[in-house]
Symmetry: C2
Subunit: 335 residues, 2 copies
């Protein structure tokens, strides 16, 4: 069982690595780490304005990697781009729950069809690649018990959850049937520098961070007692690397999860303390969000802890402080 | 709790009923029952040659219903066709497991995207309709225990299983979020008159029936000890009607299942006895089937039995005899 301080350099030095959604939040943080490790990094991103891709996210390392602007829905482009890649981090996705209800077809094309395209491209053109899929706690739906482990029933509450579920299971089936080396990580709320803060469509955390920095009033839906868990993006990046370097992870599904579950009310208070100022209002749930809300959620990440030694290293307090610092400095590039 | 001898006439008399996949096996048997009950029946079917649609299936009642040839992938056509329908039996689907692996995109379009189209069409144009979705035991994958109940983990082993899972969950989510009156029936192996017997792509049962009638040798894959359960199509039709007339079924998922699980070896022997002749060979699993085989399967149908009083009425022996009789008389229309 490797400790979280695994030295990833021997594995990634000189490795050819593709990241779909590479200009997005998690993709760009991963790219920074991989560049440090000496990997040959190719980022693929569609730069669809309302999604998370942002060229600024890699402005400081743009000479140390390659960027290919392409939409994962472009089946033929994808077929070319996967060729020769040794590791593929498949992070491109539509992540807004409300968007998935308003335009279920776009969500379907990106989160379902494109996953099939990537797997078909690898099956025919690059069957040796390691493929890491960024799945989501959303596929569990409203928890039947807490914390939610990987055996929890899959009962998504919105189109996005259904489509991510299908996308994940393509990866599992292509492993079992064709021997592709796939792994799925079911992420919980991830936050940190380079996240999208433009509006609340993707995450309320990003929106809150922006509002704090702009001295606006945060809005908490419902009674604020909903519990969530959070991972700082660096911890998620470590998990992504761990499932690559450990062959035993191939074909597996792992939850990530936070060490410090917190209610939204307490989170807002923590953010305001860290920001040394700010205020919030408690407002009724907007109807379109209420209908797909999942109540409390905390993830059980003991499987990846036991098998791969992963554990979150950054406290919520520390991670939020770093993130606030980042947006105080760089907000103009994200709004 | 209504007994299985529920009189469906008061409900269906004069009702406007749409059946997608209406010229197929289950759809056409359902159409016969509905016409008897006095419903106004509209069948929609694509008549794609390699699928199950067959105009002969309703030749004897073609003056008592309407047929509209259309593909459920035609989003605009569907939007028109659902208008004014009081009950929609959503049976159109790609059902071949091996086809889903060979052409995953076609399976995706039919089993995922078209389901979304139908639900979106109803949401915007006919939110009052009752919508019954024909799901499948395939979404459970390889059973973790037997008999498989509705709480069994969903871990499909092929693209078809994943896509049917997504299609089913769209129905569930559109119920919870938009109040559409949807029900999902998870069917096990269904057999009977009007099933597709052209080849073994969809069901081995159809293929065996044809081979028996044509005095060919049946082939059993593996060791023949795999257990399956079977429903005669009339029992499935009764289940489809029961979930419509019982409002309590709305938003629910129900397994169907057979009363007499049987190994493939014993099934072959039973068929040969009923046919008063025939032979079988035991042959190794073809590789493409082995990889997606689920081992033994029997379904637990106690939920629908307790809640709606459904229970299979036709014994396997009786049902197979009727089916053999049908194909002895009508085989020419099915090959």
């Amino acid at each position: 069982m490797p400790p979280p301080e695994t030295d990833f350099t021997p594995y990634f030095q000189g490795k050819k690595v593709l990241i779909t959604g590479g200009l997005g939040f998690i993709g760009s943080n991963l790219a920074h780490r991989l560049v440090e490790l000496g990997a040959h990094v190719l980022l693929v991103d569609s730069l669809i304005p309302k999604y998370g891709g942002n060229v600024f996210n890699v402005a400081d390392i743009q000479d140390r990697l390659r960027i290919n602007i392409a939409d994962v829905r472009d089946e033929h482009g994808l077929r070319y781009l996967v060729q020769g890649q040794e590791v593929i981090f498949n992070l491109a996705g539509q992540v807004s729950h409300t968007d998935s209800m308003n335009d279920p077809y776009a969500d379907l094309e990106i989160n379902v069809r494109s996953q099939l395209s990537l797997l078909e491209a690898c099956r025919h053109g690059n069957p040796q690649a390691k493929i890491i899929f960024a799945s989501t706690r959303q596929i569990y739906g409203k928890p039947a018990y807490l914390p939610v482990d990987e055996n929890h029933p899959l009962q998504p509450v919105d189109v996005n959850g259904i489509n991510k579920l299908a996308g994940e299971w393509y990866h599992i089936v292509y492993h079992h049937v064709y021997g592709l080396q796939t792994v799925s990580l079911r992420l919980t709320n991830t936050y940190g520098p380079r996240m999208r803060v433009k509006d609340a469509r993707q995450t309320f955390m990003g929106w809150w961070l922006r509002q704090l920095v702009e001295s606006q009033t945060l809005q908490i839906f419902g009674d604020g007692r909903q519990v969530r868990d959070f991972n700082y993006v660096d911890d998620v990046v470590t998990a992504l690397l761990l499932v690559v370097v450990n062959d035993s992870a191939t074909g597996q599904i792992y939850n990530l999860g936070g060490r410090e579950p917190i209610s939204l009310l307490d989170l807002a208070q923590l953010l305001i303390n860290l920001n040394q100022g700010g205020r919030y209002d408690i407002v009724p749930f907007p109807e379109d969000r209420q209908r797909i809300d999942i109540g409390d959620y905390t993830g059980d990440y003991s499987k990846i802890r036991h098998e791969l030694g992963w554990e979150p290293q950054i406290t919520l307090c520390d991670g939020l402080a770093r993130t606030l610092d980042y947006y105080r400095e760089h907000l103009a590039h994200y709004v």
